[in-house]
Structure formats: structure tokens, C-alpha cells
């Protein structure tokens, strides 16, 4: 291994993408920096003096071992924090220092990478959290909540990298209990396989309720007026003067004053006017009735047409327990079993409904408002439409609120704050409240029998009756069932005989303890689901020897790569016959797996981690500033990324489309958000873009730009760094620790450009920011929600934390900038063209991410030949996305342990 780090390799640091199939890593500091060390460091840290017992003159410029790397890290830390050279000493020139820090921080990254290189060795790994969930799903036909397991992300690599996937005693017990839960769920699904149920709620059921409430409000208001008058008359009596004066002094307003009616001699009780607050102060009810809150809105509601046939989805007015015209709820009856369900809504947009309000949100538990689906309503009052929404119900949906479905106008009440804001805006406009936009005829749910679906392989393998009433199976039957189940769970590997014997005795112990056979079986099977042969993907091999994968291992590696799930029967039987390793069969299976719906397991997980999408859930948008970016839009924006990658993969389009394209893959919600016509169906689909549209490609996506903000303001730094990391495969070194913050500008209102220019003053900052910031400037036309804008503004907050309008400053967006040591651009479109011309760099980053994800180990310098092959083969086909995957799967690396 030593010879790879020959000091002769210490040459220029070449940008990662033009490195040829390098033999040695470039973790070496450029020799040209010797003079900086000589001029500024050696006098104290050299042959004469060794302050802090540290010498730089003997520091090797080749970072070939941890010790040297740690020493250079010290140099980096000291210079970044501004400690060295000491203030009173001569300082290096700004540019030279910036270059030095730039190179050194990149060399440190390269050194870390090469020193942590696994040299092609793939560590055996356990199933990660997603794969564990998917594997249970494929085996037992049910999906359970696995969020209690560790997420397996956070250490920087993909969640498939074996060396980062740990195991603990705690986790073993979680696997056992989750396995038990999955089995219970699966048994319940089996028991209910044939159940068919249907229930329809006619929306006009609420009409008399609203009408009655209006009549009640009017009547109560009259009674309240009479009571108030009577109280005031009593208060005016001369003999009550003193007590009234005292009470008024204690009360903030008249309503509060009236709460003390009892202390005023002669004042009648609210109850005598029909106000009974059930044990609380009756005056509160009378006071409230006097205001008759939202009566005009309720009156407006009952004036609407078609109330004899349906109901409207309005805003929240009274407490929902009193009156609810905001959403329609439907409880799935408690005795309806787990299974696949369909919700249907017959719905219409009112004649005056503006286009942006013709959307319906569907979800469970209206109060928390988690939106599960959003549909555009195209039906009219004359011709309403039926919207169909499939969903599943499992054992987790046991409590009332977990099985109460709701429909509501999109975004009308995502949160109390946001709903209230929309309501008061409408109130200002029309003094009533939000105009009614959606009308519902009925809302129904149906449980779809799953008897026709094939029995999940794990359940089928048991071949035992699973009801408690069934007769106990014979010992032979139990043993055979356990054997078949374990083989299925272990992806075709036959379990050792003594293992099966142990399982049989566990089963018998449970039976002796009084368990019913089904319960004992469940307990025993949960042990299988926490056994190493289930949890680990093992490819046994003696030390230091590389060998081709056996067909069965290849099947497993392929299916966990492209499905994040176990190989199916077809793949396993090809493996069993020894055919899978034939190149043409392997290629055909790769195609089949990519065409299967399960490929979503790969697409979503890979895309999410590759593009660093966890930032999307990091921030909430400020809805007062970006009212259109409601919950449904955020969900759709996130899905746009997945759907676009999926589209590219399904159609084997060019990877270039992700940099720039003349189409987008959007649904109706996003079409509205972007102002783009042309979506035909109810799902995501490809839509052509008009000339000059900023959309098309990753940078045109709202969610990508949203990630480069904090939900309120854009962050050119985040955006620039993301582009360098994900699109240009030139990741800036991680944000260094302990760099002194620039506080000079704190509290000042400055345009973004000017504020960020401060980064250029300090070499510690400039070393990275001169690369990062210009890209961020080019993206400034996208606001924090990814909408196009031409100006930006900022106002400081005053001492009380409120924005101070006096400080408001508005400036036009200036997107023109120049890449560091690169071309200049005039605007976003110019920047996009520059980036689009770098598809080879992008393809390299994509390839190395694929290699890491697929092989479950970091992509190291030993993978250079593989990367070159992937790039060459795919470049021949205009970077068709499947070409990368095909080449990778066909490679020795993929087919070797």
C-alpha cells in the first residue's frame, strides 16, 4: 500500500472531474505553498525554535498517513481561526493566504477520503431501516411504521454503506417487537381478506345543522341584548352606585363587568334569559351570544344554492365542536378491519371559484391536518366529478382520530395561524369571510377485498391456518412450516437444522405456557425476523480473496440495489438455475427490475440522499410571506424531484435533462404554482415548457430552491454550495470550525450582494466563498419558495422583534456574476447554460454516488477505472440514465465480493 503514496505523486491538485484513471490519490499539498510556510511560520516552528513543540519545516507535503494529516489539520485550524501567524507578526498576502487555505482544506478532504478508502472491500451489512421495512412488506404483505429504528443516515454516506450500519442489543429487541407487529398485522390482513364494506355520507346532512345554528345565533343575540339591558338598568339604580363603580374599576370592559352581575342587586340572572354555561359563568355565554361571532358568514352560507343536495367546504368559524363548516369528517367504523380502502368524493367548484382555489385536500385527523392527497376539482355545479383516493388502514389506525378521514379546501386551514390569516384577509375584503369555492355532494369509503391478491410469500410459505379456532398443527407440520418460512425470510438460504430445532422448541414452550397456536407461531416467527440470516446480507469469503458472487448473492445485491427489497421468485429461480450471472440475463433482469413499481424504492431513497433533500423538511416556510406555498404545494414540490428522476429513468432519458430541459414533470398543484398550462390528468406528468421559462431541470424546481433558503430568506451560500456539491462534483470542504464570524455588518440592512462581499475581505472566508457565492447570486431570482422574482427587500427588526418598516430597503435582483476562475454570466439563464455545459462533471458525481449506493461502500480512488467505464459507456448514449446502471451492474465490482 505504501508505494501508492509516493511523494512523487505530490503534484498539482487537479479538480476531481478531470482526474484520469489515477493510480494514486492526490492527497498532497501543492509545493508552491512552501514559501508561505517559510516566510511566516518557520522562524517560530522550525530548526531554531519549536514553539508549541510544532515544526513545519519537517512537515511532509504528502499526506500519506494519519499523523501527517492531523498535523496539517492543526495548521488549517490555526490559520482558519486567525491564531497563526500571531497578530503582531507579518501577515501573508490576502490572495496567497486564501489560495493556501483553499488548497489545504481541499487536500484535507482528499486525504480523509484516501485514508478512509476501503480499497474496494465491501463490508457485510445489515438491512437498513428502509430495506427492513420493504423486506417485511414483500414477505408479509404489510407495511409497518419503523420510525423507532435508527435512521441510518447522518454520518455522511449513503444508508447502504455497511460499515456505518451498526447493531446493538437495544436494536435487536426493536427488531423482535417490530417483527411481531408485522406478523400481527399480516395475520389480521389475512383474516379480513374477503371483507367488503361501503359507507356513504350525504353532505347535506349538515345543512339543517347550519340552519339551526343561524336561527339559534339570531335568537340568542336578541335574548342577550335584553339581558344586557336589564343588567344596565339595575346598574343605573342610584343605590348601586358604589358597588358598580367598584366593579367597573376592576373590569377591563363591559363584558367583564357583566360577569359580576350577581353582585349588582336587581340584575337578573343570564339563566333567566336562557343562557346556561353548564357550571361555568353563564354571563360568558350571554356575552358571547351578543357578538354572534361569524353570523354573517353562516347566513351567507345558508343563502347558497344546492344545500338540499350537498354542503360547502368553507373556513373555520366557531369551535368545531359547536359548528364546523371548514371540513367534512368521516369516521371509518371501528369494526371495519385493516386493509386497502378507497375514498370517493363527489365534488364541484362553485361558479365563482378562482382557479387557485379549486383544489381538494384529503387526509386523516383534520386537527393536525396532515395532507395525504390533493386533487384539482374540475367538476362544476352542473356536472360534479367523483374524485377517487386510495389509502390503506392498518392496526396503527386504532384510535378515533387515526381513523377519521377529512376533506377540506386545499390550504384553507393548514394551521390555525395560516387559516386565521386567510380568513381575516377575506373579512377585510368583503366583511363576511372567504368566499365558498367547493361544494360536496357526498363522501364515501369502501373497503376493497384483497382476496384476489396473491398471498404474500411469507404467509403462503407457512401453509397453516392462522385463526385461533383452527385445530393445533402436528409437530411435523410446525417444523415444516418453520423451515419454509425461514428459507423464504432468508432469501432462499436454507436454515441450519439445529436452528429449526430451536425454533420448534420455542414454539412448544409457548404452547405449554398456554398460547394459542397462532400466537405461539407469531412469537416464534418474530425470532426468525430478528435472526442474523434475515437481518444481514452475507457474502461469505475467506480473507483477502475476492471471488465472483454466487448467483443467489447476485440476485440479492441486484434487488436491494434497484428495489431496496428482497429478490422475488423470478429472480431467485434464475439464480437457482445458475442463469443470472450470464451477462444477457443479468442485463434483462436489470431492465425488468427498473420497470417494476418496486424501483420506486431505489429512486426515492437514492435521489433523496444523493441530492441532500433532508433540508426540505428542515425548515417551515413563512406562510405570511409565501401564502401560496401551502402544505399541499410543499408536498408536491418535493415529489417533483422524485417524479422527474423517475420519469428520466423510466424513459431512459439523458441525465442532462436534470441540468436543463424543455419540459417539467408536475401535477396540477404545481402547474398552478408555476403558472404553467397543459397538465391533463390527476397525477404527475410531463409538460412542455414555453420558451424562456426558468423551469426545467433541477435548478428550476421550487423544492431545490426552497432547500437553499431558511423558509424566509434565500441563502446564496447554501445554494452555491449545493450546486458545487451536487451538480459540479466539486464539493467545498465542510464548513470549517472556529472561523471568527464577521460581525462588522451585524444588524445592518444591506442588499445580499453587498452583505456577501464581506466574505471576500478575510482570506479564511474567501478561500471557499469566492467559489460558492457567485453561483448563489445567479440563483437570486428565485425567492425562498422558488417563485421567480425580480426584486428583493429586507427590513431589520426593532428591539421588540417586530420588522421595522423604516429600515426597509428594496433592491433589484442582480444575478450577473462570474464563476471563480471561470466564465461570467449575465443572468440566471446564462448560469444555467454554463452548468448545463458541464454534464460530464455532473455525470461523474452521479456515477460515484451510484457506485457508493449500489456497492455499500465509499467510492474510492480504486474505483477510477469503473467510473471511467460508466462515463464512457453512457456518454456514447448521450448520458442515457439506464446506461450508468447497466454498466455498473455488468462491472466486476458489482459482481464480486
Amino acid at each position: 500500500m505504501k508505494h501508492l503514496f509516493s511523494p512523487l505523486a505530490a503534484l498539482l491538485l487537479v479538480p476531481a472531474w478531470i482526474q484520469a484513471a489515477a493510480e494514486a490519490p492526490k492527497a498532497a499539498m501543492n509545493e508552491r505553498h512552501k514559501s508561505l510556510l517559510q516566510d511566516h511560520c518557520v522562524s517560530c516552528h522550525g530548526p531554531d525554535k519549536q514553539k508549541g513543540k510544532f515544526r513545519v519545516d519537517e512537515l511532509s507535503f504528502s499526506l500519506s498517513n494519519l499523523e501527517t494529516a492531523e498535523k496539517w489539520q492543526k495548521v488549517l485550524n490555526q490559520m482558519n481561526s486567525g491564531e497563526m501567524p500571531p497578530e503582531e507578526e507579518k501577515q501573508p498576502a490576502r490572495e496567497a493566504k486564501a489560495d493556501f487555505l483553499d488548497d489545504l482544506s481541499n487536500v484535507m478532504v482528499a486525504a480523509r477520503r484516501s485514508l478512509s478508502d476501503q480499497r474496494g472491500v465491501i463490508t457485510m451489512r445489515r438491512l437498513n431501516r428502509r430495506e427492513y421495512r420493504n423486506t417485511l412488506r414483500e414477505l408479509l404483505g404489510v407495511e409497518i411504521n419503523v420510525s423507532e429504528l435508527p435512521s441510518d443516515t447522518g454520518t455522511g454516506g449513503f444508508d447502504t454503506v455497511g460499515s456505518n450500519l451498526f447493531m446493538s442489543g437495544n436494536q435487536f429487541e426493536q427488531y423482535q417487537s417490530l417483527g411481531r407487529e408485522a406478523l400481527t398485522e399480516a395475520f389480521a390482513w389475512q383474516a379480513a381478506a374477503g371483507v367488503e364494506k361501503k359507507l356513504r355520507y350525504e353532505a347535506e346532512t349538515s345543512t339543517p345543522v347550519v340552519e339551526k345554528f343561524v336561527a339559534y345565533q339570531i335568537d340568542a343575540r336578541e335574548r342577550a341584548k335584553l339581558w344586557v339591558k336589564a343588567v344596565e338598568e339595575a346598574a343605573a339604580l342610584p343605590e348601586n352606585k358604589d358597588i358598580v363603580a367598584q366593579l367597573k374599576k376592576e373590569s377591563k370592559n363591559d363584558a367583564i363587568f357583566r360577569r359580576s352581575w350577581e353582585k349588582i342587586p336587581g340584575a337578573p340572572s343570564p339563566r333567566s334569559f336562557g343562557f346556561d354555561k353548564k357550571g361555568e359563568n353563564d354571563a360568558d355565554l350571554a356575552n358571547d351570544s351578543l357578538g354572534a361571532g361569524w353570523l354573517p358568514y353562516h347566513q351567507y352560507y345558508v343563502r347558497q344554492p344546492a344545500l338540499d343536495r350537498g354542503a360547502y367546504l368553507g373556513t373555520q368559524t366557531r369551535h368545531p365542536a359547536e359548528l364546523n363548516v371548514n371540513y367534512i369528517e368521516l369516521l371509518v367504523p371501528f369494526d371495519w378491519p385493516v386493509g386497502d380502502y378507497i375514498a370517493r368524493v363527489r365534488v364541484a367548484a362553485t361558479n365563482d371559484a378562482p382557479p387557485e382555489r379549486r383544489f381538494l385536500d384529503f387526509g386523516i385527523h383534520a386537527r393536525t391536518g396532515k395532507v395525504m392527497a390533493t386533487h384539482e376539482v374540475t367538476g362544476t355545479m352542473d356536472a360534479p366529478q367523483v374524485v377517487e383516493i386510495p389509502f390503506t388502514l392498518n392496526r396503527g389506525n386504532a384510535e378515533r382520530f387515526d381513523r377519521t378521514l377529512f376533506i377540506r379546501e386545499k390550504g384553507s386551514w393548514d394551521t390555525n395561524e395560516e387559516g386565521g390569516r386567510k380568513r381575516s384577509e377575506a373579512l377585510k375584503r368583503n366583511s363576511i369571510g372567504p368566499e365558498l369555492a367547493l361544494w360536496v355532494d357526498w363522501f364515501e369509503i369502501e373497503r376493497v377485498p384483497n382476496a384476489s391478491k396473491p398471498t404474500p410469500p411469507g404467509i403462503a410459505s407457512l401453509g397453516l391456518p392462522l385463526e385461533d379456532k383452527a385445530p393445533a398443527p402436528t409437530p411435523q407440520e410446525v417444523q415444516a412450516a418453520l423451515e419454509r418460512f425461514a428459507t423464504e425470510a432468508f432469501r432462499g438460504t436454507e436454515p441450519p437444522a439445529d436452528y429449526i430445532q430451536s425454533l420448534v422448541s420455542l414454539f412448544n414452550v409457548r404452547i405449554k405456557a398456554g398460547d394459542k397456536p397462532a400466537a405461539a407461531l407469531k412469537e416464534t416467527l418474530s425470532v426468525v425476523l430478528s435472526s442474523p440470516m434475515f437481518l444481514y446480507l452475507a457474502e461469505p469469503t475467506a480473507d483477502e480473496t475476492r471471488r465472483p458472487l454466487k448467483d443467489a448473492e447476485l440476485a440479492t445485491r441486484l434487488s436491494y440495489f434497484l428495489w431496496s427489497a428482497p429478490p422475488d421468485a423470478a429472480l431467485r429461480s434464475l439464480a437457482k438455475r445458475g442463469e443470472l450471472s450470464k451477462p444477457e440475463v443479468l442485463a434483462a433482469q436489470t431492465e425488468r427490475l427498473l420497470n417494476d413499481r418496486r424501483a420506486e424504492g431505489f429512486i426515492r431513497a437514492f435521489t433523496h440522499q444523493w441530492l441532500g433533500m433532508d433540508r426540505i423538511d428542515f425548515f417551515e416556510i413563512n406562510r405570511a410571506l409565501f401564502p401560496r406555498f401551502d402544505t399541499a404545494t410543499k408536498v408536491a414540490a418535493k415529489n417533483e424531484i422524485y417524479e422527474t428522476v423517475e420519469h428520466v429513468l423510466r424513459h431512459n432519458s439523458s441525465l442532462r435533462d436534470l441540468l436543463k430541459s424543455d419540459y417539467v414533470v408536475i401535477n396540477r398543484v404545481l402547474a398552478h404554482f408555476y403558472g404553467l398550462p397543459g397538465v391533463q390528468g390527476d397525477a404527475f406528468e410531463k409538460v412542455s415548457l414555453p420558451q424562456g421559462s426558468p423551469r426545467g431541470g433541477l435548478l428550476g424546481m421550487a423544492a431545490i430552491q426552497f432547500m437553499g433558503s431558511n423558509g424566509e430568506r434565500t441563502s446564496p451560500v447554501e445554494r452555491g454550495a449545493w450546486v458545487l456539491r451536487k451538480l459540479l462534483n466539486d464539493p467545498p470542504p465542510p464548513a470549517p470550525a472556529n472561523v471568527p464570524a464577521i460581525t462588522r455588518l451585524a444588524g445592518k440592512v444591506l442588499p445580499t450582494h453587498e452583505r456577501l462581499l464581506a466574505h471576500q475581505e478575510d482570506p479564511q472566508c474567501a478561500s471557499c466563498h469566492r467559489k460558492i457565492d457567485p453561483i448563489g447570486f445567479g440563483l437570486e431570482n428565485f425567492d425562498a419558495a422558488g417563485q421567480w422574482r425580480t426584486e428583493d427587500s429586507y427590513q431589520a427588526t426593532d428591539a421588540s422583534g417586530k420588522p421595522d418598516p423604516k429600515t426597509k430597503k428594496t433592491w433589484p435582483i442582480e444575478a450577473a456574476a462570474a464563476l471563480h476562475k471561470g466564465p461570467a454570466f449575465n443572468d440566471y439563464f446564462g448560469l444555467r447554460d454554463i452548468l448545463a455545459s458541464k454534464s460530464d462533471v455532473f455525470a461523474r458525481g452521479f456515477s460515484s454516488a451510484l457506485v457508493e449506493y449500489a456497492l455499500g461502500r465509499p467510492c474510492g480512488f480504486t474505483d477510477e477505472p469503473l467510473l471511467s467505464t460508466m462515463l464512457r459507456e453512457s456518454a456514447n448514449k448521450d448520458f442515457a440514465v439506464r446506461e450508468f446502471i447497466r454498466t455498473l451492474v455488468a462491472s466486476n465490482e458489482f459482481r464480486t465480493k
Binding site: 494519519l66 454520518t155 430451536s502 483477502e544
Partner: protein
């Protein structure tokens, strides 16, 4: 345990190891309490708060160390305890370089890159070093408590709690007050015979999966064997726990000295209740070593602060609402700690002394604020480790934080030679 050894073999040796102190704790102490009071045991608590503090208003003036310092604004709520805690400045974990990891290496001082060929490495945390000794005679060797929220949002970094085991692998913990409460006080009403039978059954489950692991181990190379060792270690940990459970069969769970917490408590309320639960765990001698990875994200929400937590820690660039959020966070955390100290002082041990005098408590984070990992905020309190209290202590810059941990360990009677990257005990802390 080498996988080739039988579990029985292991059982024998580990029971022998555990039996003596268990005897002391179960029988002897109960008996002894009737006669002469025994000295109360030492306890060690670590409270970590992810994103750090506000540098300018949390630290005492560095130019005026000693006992006669002025309490800074961020610590104002702690003024009444001024004589009973020390602030130490200048400490850091020199290998730390992840600006978003406030807890991952806080108690370990590990070098993430220490292991060639790996991009994540950690080592044992100080609490676990202590638990190996202080934990022998309690129902739980240690307790790991976590905020009921996503730890990333609070700047804690990777990990299942603040604790890392002897091989540097993450140790899981209880998430939120309800889980913690149940872990400590849920009554086991199962008859003893049945408990024994269940224990036996759990052991046969472990035997079964161990058998499976051994079968799989055949033919594995060195790396893969090392990976599978984690599984063996996991099972071994459960074995140890089962052995301990066995000792505790028939010993009733203590009565909870507080009611079951409401579900859904978040932020400020959560921390308050968690402190009560920590106190209850100590009062009932359920454990003597605790860590609590406090929520920060929900703390902000519970104070009505809208600033995102990570953003808050970058208050330098804009000041305004971010700085305000940062300082309000400091104040609230200090208030919560202050009332916790009140309770530690007012709780009495069986010999009449204050619980406070037998507790060593460290409060801080690996992050100062922003991405700054130097001068880690460190507040030490409690009389348990016999350290110097009531002082603002300034150590030479970049003194290993692990020196402080080593000092605490020695103070509570755990004579470790070194911990993490420690270079010795902190002389400045010695009273």
C-alpha cells in the same frame, strides 16, 4: 465472549462478577439502614444542549476569573447558586470538526477519522466509563434520556443518545418523559415463577439467534466477522441485562415519587419533567449515572420563538431576532437548571445530607455556537466529585475537555487512567 464459548460459560463468570455488589445493594443496604447509615453513593449526570449558547452573554468575563466574578446575563437565573457551580472556559475536544454535532463526541473526545478505512469512529463516553463501576448495584447501570424530538434539529449530531459503549457504538435511550417514566416505574405484576419462565424463554430466544449467528459466521472474512461481532455484542449486552434482571426478580419496582407525565409535553415543559424524572430515578436509587440529550428545537417552539434552531446559532451575522432567540434560550435553560439545583439541594439522603452533595453534574455542549467547537460551554455543579465550586475558571486555551471528564470520574471514585484525549486531571478544578 468469543462466540465459540457457550452462553452458560459466560453466565457463570458474569454472575460471579455481579453477585457481590448486588448483595451489598439489595440485602446489605436494607439491613444496614436499620443500623448505622451508610455513606450515600455518588451520582453522575450529564445534560447536553446541542446548539450551544450565546458566547457574549453566557460566559463570565475571562479577565476576571476566581470566585469574585460577575454573573453574566445568560446565567442570571443561576445567581442564587453562585457559590455552588463553576464555569470552566478554554476546554475543547481537539478532534471535533463537525459544526452540527453538539453531542456525538461531547463525552467521548474521539477522533471521527481515527480508524483507517472508516469514515465514522467513536469511543466510549464518560458516563459509560462511570456506569461500569457505579452501575453494578442498581437496577439500571445507567439511563440515557433523549428529547422527544429529532436530535438533528437540536444540533446533537448522530447517535442514539449521548452515550457510546465500550466499542464506540451508539447506545439507545428513552425518548421523552413518558418513555422514561415507564422504563423506571412501570410495575411488573407478573408472578415470580412466570417471570423466571419468561427469562428462561428470553434466553432460549438468544440461544436460537446466537446459533444462527454462529452458523452464518462460518466462512466470513475478517471485516465481516468484525461486523457480525456487533450482533454478538448486542446479544451479550442483553444477556448481561437478563442476568441483572434475574438478580432483581422479586425486588419490587420502586413507587414512582411523581405522577405519570402527560403525553406530548414538549420543549420547556419536557425538560422540566425530565429533570423531575432524573431526580426520581436517583431518589429511588434506580440508577446512579444519567445522561439527558435535551431538546432545543421544541424548546424554541415552546417559547413561541419562530427562528429555526440552526439559524439561531448563527446569530452573529444578523443579530436581531436570532440573537434574541439565542439569549432567551440561554435564560430558559438556566432557569430550568436553577430549579433543578434547588431540588437537588432540598432533597435529603438517608443520612440527612443533601442529595446535591453527592451528585456530580456537567452541563454543556460540544458546540459553543455557530460552528465553533472551541471553548465548549461547561458548567459543573454538585458536591459529588469534590471539585472546586463557585469559581469562574479559565484554563489554558484548548485544554482537553476530557480532562474535565477525567476529573469528574476520579471525583466520583472511578480511577480511570485517561479518557478520550485527556492529558491529565484539571488542576484548576481540584478544590
Amino acid at each position: 465472549m468469543k462466540p465459540s464459548l457457550t452462553r452458560r460459560h459466560f453466565l457463570r463468570s458474569s454472575t460471579a462478577l455481579i453477585a457481590l455488589p448486588a448483595l451489598e445493594s439489595l440485602g446489605f443496604r436494607r439491613f444496614a439502614s436499620a443500623a448505622a447509615p451508610v455513606a450515600p453513593p455518588k451520582r453522575l449526570i450529564f445534560l447536553g444542549f446541542g446548539w450551544g449558547i450565546t458566547t457574549e452573554s453566557w460566559f463570565p468575563d475571562i479577565k476576571n476569573p476566581g470566585s469574585d466574578y460577575e454573573i453574566p446575563a445568560g446565567l442570571a437565573p443561576l445567581a442564587r447558586h453562585k457559590a455552588d457551580f463553576s464555569i470552566v472556559q478554554g476546554l475543547c475536544n481537539k478532534y471535533s470538526n463537525e459544526g452540527h454535532w453538539g453531542s456525538t463526541m461531547w463525552l467521548t473526545g474521539a477522533n471521527r477519522f481515527a480508524e483507517p478505512g472508516q469514515n465514522f469512529h467513536n469511543s466510549i463516553s464518560a458516563d459509560q466509563v462511570a456506569a461500569a463501576k457505579l452501575g453494578l448495584s442498581t437496577r439500571f447501570a445507567s439511563l440515557q434520556l433523549n428529547g422527544a424530538e429529532n436530535a438533528e434539529a437540536s444540533g446533537h449530531g448522530p447517535g442514539l443518545s449521548m452515550a457510546w459503549d465500550i466499542s464506540g457504538k451508539p447506545i439507545g435511550g428513552q425518548k421523552g418523559p413518558v418513555e422514561a417514566f415507564h422504563r423506571l416505574f412501570s410495575k411488573d405484576t407478573t408472578p415470580i415463577e412466570q417471570q423466571k419462565a419468561m427469562l428462561a424463554q428470553k434466553r432460549s430466544v438468544l440461544d436460537t439467534v446466537l446459533g444462527n449467528a454462529r452458523a452464518m459466521q462460518r466462512g466470513l472474512g475478517k471485516n465481516d466477522t468484525a461486523k457480525l461481532d456487533e450482533y454478538f455484542q448486542g446479544i451479550r449486552d442483553i444477556e448481561t441485562r437478563l442476568n441483572k434482571d434475574e438478580q432483581w426478580i422479586g425486588v419490587p419496582q420502586p413507587n414512582a415519587p411523581l405522577p405519570e407525565p402527560q403525553p406530548g409535553l414538549a420543549g420547556r415543559e419536557e425538560i422540566k419533567i425530565m429533570y423531575d424524572i432524573i431526580l426520581a430515578a436517583i431518589q429511588t436509587d434506580s440508577t446512579r449515572v444519567l445522561t439527558y440529550r435535551q431538546p432545543v428545537s421544541t424548546l424554541l417552539t415552546s417559547l413561541g420563538i419562530k427562528v429555526a434552531p440552526h439559524d439561531m446559532s448563527h446569530y452573529h451575522s444578523t443579530l436581531g431576532e436570532k440573537l434574541d432567540a439565542s439569549q432567551r434560550r440561554d435564560l430558559t435553560q438556566s432557569e430550568l437548571l436553577s430549579s433543578f439545583i434547588d431540588k437537588l439541594k432540598s432533597t435529603r439522603e438517608s443520612d440527612g445530607s443533601r442529595l446535591f452533595d453527592h451528585v456530580a453534574l456537567a452541563y454543556g455542549s460540544n458546540i459553543r455556537t455557530e460552528h465553533n467547537l472551541d471553548n465548549c460551554p461547561t458548567l459543573l455543579t454538585g458536591g459529588g466529585a469534590g471539585i472546586k465550586l463557585g469559581h469562574s475558571i479559565v484554563t489554558p486555551k484548548d485544554t482537553p475537555l476530557c480532562n474535565a471528564w477525567l476529573t469528574l470520574l476520579h471525583g466520583v471514585g472511578v480511577k480511570a487512567e485517561r479518557h478520550g484525549d485527556s492529558s491529565g486531571v484539571l488542576k484548576e478544578l481540584l478544590a
